[in-house]
Symmetry: C2
């Protein structure tokens, strides 16, 4: 069995360990929820202050040009592009993941309606993150299409038929952490005449993504998870160059216009991905997101995303091993795949009862994971700042909470607004 | 003619003068562009630091509950509600003005399609801010409706006919500063069977707005102009209680769901205005916006919006008087109405040539206005922080730029990305 000393030795030998110094980590906390909200980069507070005090406070409107505000959605987008296998100029940062999905799923449906009107189905998974399903449901209603949800990965292939317009998937499942094979599923969708829309919320910054290599059609992703952009950071959107100029996305705001500062009536979309911009860019949030993305790009000199992925898998493998050896007999069922290729950067366990309270009891001990209704305990292992010894110590706390039955105390059962 | 000393005396007698101390104003600058980007409130930098360092950095995900992040869109919305004649619980802050307009104009069209399908026109003005026209154009395309644009205010009434579904107007024209009578036009729209959608971008925080008093149907507004929320601050949205539960807005994101943290497939919109929320709230931006809104609410003890409005009108009246008396013979034509009731918080001048260069020459002298293509020089007078002596000094600089012909220097003709 892996000992604490062995974990310390793993940290000592970890070439990525210095990347942890990029972050302000609260003392006394083992943070295993970077898949919900990434931690604060050390650079962010100063950079946001600079934007607030200097660029806004002193520069005022001149900063749109002088401080490069107007191109910030593209500048940060280009940085994210390097993390998801997209080219320069192919990604912009804008709005929320939900809003961006509305744009690209709408584009995919419109392209199919023009080319293959008999295709009237969006295929996705019942377990997909709800906002994706809600947006799809809304667009299905608008387009007279149908949202078809499968309950099991294995059923996807059967739904890629003559009626399938779009396959819409989240690459890494938010609850289980299961990873889809983006290249294979995109190929299967294309072979069936469908388009593939990918949500990279739990992928970007956590594992290698190759959108162009997979010849994917559309993608969106989140700025506040593994990209460490801060609470409610803006999201990103990518469209394959073969599609990008084909569709006028319906949120036809002025910043996506070909000439926003001509102030002319009559919408003409900007060429390329800029047409997916809508309103005035949120500068404070974009500046914070850029600092977060930079923390991931800092891994480039140490092996980049591939090295982060290797560490992430080692962390999650260790967590599974330690929980299964040290927390036996407590009814924790592993939900996350054991196969490295199928596992994202998190590990989830199902427990028939008490999941919420166990997570609360852990938080009270400084081990922050989260609970996903109805019965999943979820732990994320962001490789930029999580140590092997953190894994050991977290499991020890979990063992104590379970062995002692402490989680049964009423105080851990009080539900907060956000659980 | 009003002298500089008289302006100083006006400032000395101005009960609102202390409100200026709420802001970090750059030295050597007379800022007459608060209608484009409001200035930095003194409280903002510290508040944003607190959010970044304490709430995000230390609190991490617990701050969704502990720091009240999850209800911030409503909390700031309730504060804005007080400035626009809306009730508590009727306004939320979310997304951009463009995105919010997409939601409410879509709602208005859907309501009419259900109740009066023969109504297939959106009526607006050719001079409306372009993003409003682009969003309307997009929705018109989607709904098989037609966007009808009038060139003159006087033509609006004639277009309120049996085919008019929605009258969509910006209360204060971004270019001319002309104010529409919201109550009268809403009544006229209703009398004709149409719904009224109002954009309050240049109204909120600058003049009294009474959405419920006018019985308006829908409204959106901007956070970064007179509300001083910072560059690209999130926008707000209001729906009259009689409509709010009638429509499932199409950007059906998880934060607008009745139970976002149940993580269930199947969209059920939240009751009330919360259904107009989409993605995870942008916390940094919301915190900054709250500081900005607070600077306006600080006027409550000094007469509130009515007092701000009186000062704003005095400032713009003075500016017109001084320009017309001191800058004669230079071809400046007043675009903004002289009638107080018809004038927002800005003054615009048309000039056949050189408008852009004149604005640049003024900026080089520390007087910041802006230029709106093709020929308008625009000056905003935010009453929270603009002094009467600023008006005098700005006109003196304008006089010098014009009398000297300095604006003809080539350096003032170089166009930047954002003009």
């Amino acid at each position: 069995m892996t000992t604490r000393d062995h974990c310390l030795a793993l940290d000592a030998a970890d070439a990525l360990a210095p990347l942890r110094d990029q972050f302000e980590l609260p003392g006394g906390t083992i943070y295993l929820d970077g898949n919900s909200l990434g931690v604060l980069p050390r650079a962010t507070a100063a950079r946001v202050q600079q934007v607030v005090r200097d660029e806004w406070g002193r520069g005022l409107i001149t900063s749109w040009n002088a401080a490069g505000w107007i191109t910030l959605p593209q500048r940060v987008g280009d940085k994210i592009a390097r993390l998801v296998g997209a080219g320069a100029g192919e990604v912009v940062v804008a709005d929320s993941t939900s809003a961006n999905l509305f744009k690209v799923l709408g584009a995919a449906l419109a392209i199919q309606r023009a080319e293959a009107p008999q295709r009237d189905r969006i295929v996705s998974e019942r377990g997909n993150f709800p906002t994706d399903l809600y947006i799809a449901e809304s667009l299905a209603r608008q387009h007279g299409a149908e949202l078809v949800l499968v309950d099991d990965d294995a059923d996807i292939a059967a739904r890629l038929d003559a009626r399938c317009a779009v396959l819409m998937l989240t690459q890494v499942d938010y609850k289980s952490g299961r990873v889809h094979d983006m290249a294979a599923l995109t190929r299967a969708a294309h072979d069936a005449g469908a388009l593939a829309v990918w949500d990279l919320a739990h992928s970007a910054g956590a594992l290698p993504v190759d959108l162009n290599g997979a010849a994917a059609d559309f993608a969106v992703g989140c700025g506040y998870k593994y990209l460490n952009g801060g609470p409610g950071a803006p999201a990103f959107v990518w469209v394959h160059p073969r599609h990008v100029d084909r569709f006028w996305q319906p949120l036809a705001g002025w910043i996506g216009h070909a000439a926003p500062f001509e102030f002319v009536p009559g919408y003409r979309p900007a060429p390329g991905i800029a047409r997916y911009l809508v309103g005035t860019p949120p500068i404070l949030s974009l500046a914070a997101l850029e600092c977060g993305v930079d923390t991931v790009l800092a891994a480039d000199a140490l092996g980049g995303i591939a090295a982060l992925r290797a560490k992430s898998l080692a962390l999650t493998r260790l967590f599974v091993e330690l929980v299964e050896s040290r927390c036996t007999g407590h009814g924790l069922q592993l939900v996350t795949p054991r196969d490295d290729a199928l596992r994202g950067s998190q590990v989830s366990w199902r427990r028939a009862e008490g999941g919420y309270a166990i997570v609360q009891a852990l938080i009270a001990r400084g081990v922050v994971g989260d609970f996903r209704a109805p019965d999943v305990l979820r732990f994320g292992f962001a490789p930029l700042y999580t140590r092997f010894v953190d894994v050991f110590d977290a499991v020890e706390q979990l063992r104590q909470v379970l062995d002692s039955g402490q989680w049964r105390e009423p105080r851990f059962h009080q539900r907060a607004a956000v659980t």
